[in-house]
């Protein structure tokens, strides 16, 4: 895989608690993304980053915030987790050049009870 590590891989948390998911890359790529995957919805973009301290919202950004203080780390925070945020979260990086393929991390399964 393209040097992407997500942590934790699994987490169970209670409603109302804050949760931070971490994505770490060793490839020095500029673009990083957070997606959530739910049955029937495919992969939906939450937030993305195009550089250190440069982030923007995706299609399902409500209830989520992100930070990128270093090129290699992209953090996703659920300020106050809700049951609707139970999902599998994938981080991805996108390569520059002719093909814009995305490399995904292994995913984080988050359960909010």
């Amino acid at each position: 895989d393209a040097g992407i590590t997500q942590s934790p891989r699994h987490k169970v948390t209670e409603t109302g608690t804050p949760v931070t998911l971490r994505c770490h890359q060793t490839e020095n790529h500029r673009y990083m993304y957070w997606y959530r995957q739910d049955p029937g919805h495919g992969l939906r973009l939450i937030h993305y980053s195009y550089g250190v301290k440069d982030t923007d919202k995706g299609e399902v950004s409500d209830g989520y915030s992100v930070s990128r203080s270093k090129t290699e780390d992209f953090l996703l925070t659920l300020e106050s987790a809700t049951s609707s945020q139970t999902s599998v979260y994938f981080c991805a990086i996108r390569t520059p050049g002719q093909t814009h393929e995305a490399f995904f991390g292994q995913g984080t399964r988050l359960t909010v009870v």
Binding site: G42, L43, F90, R94, H100, A102, F104, Q106
Partner: protein, 112 residues
Amino acid sequence: GQQVMQIPQYQHVQEGEDFTTYCNSSTTLSNIQWYKQRPGGHPVFLIQLVKSGEVKKQKRLTFQFGEAKKNSSLHITATQTTDVGTYFCAGELSGGYQKVTFGTGTKLQVIP
């Protein structure tokens, strides 16, 4: 906003039968990518199509990009059990690949 729909959502086939999934975008795309996700795994890039009417082949897989660059298809000939998984298309708009929109995916089951 941009929407990318895929049909069918699920498909069960007998091993050896063919399989096709279709992807339709509400807007004209700069390019389209296809990914495969094995059960319990993460999406893995298969191919990217850029040109109007483009057709690319990877062994038993044939990918097409529509003339209007708003639709695409993936066809698998003579499916094998190793083809099991969910296939996603991902459409990228002109002007930047920051916001690639994934389709809803087609889950393929192959019955031996």
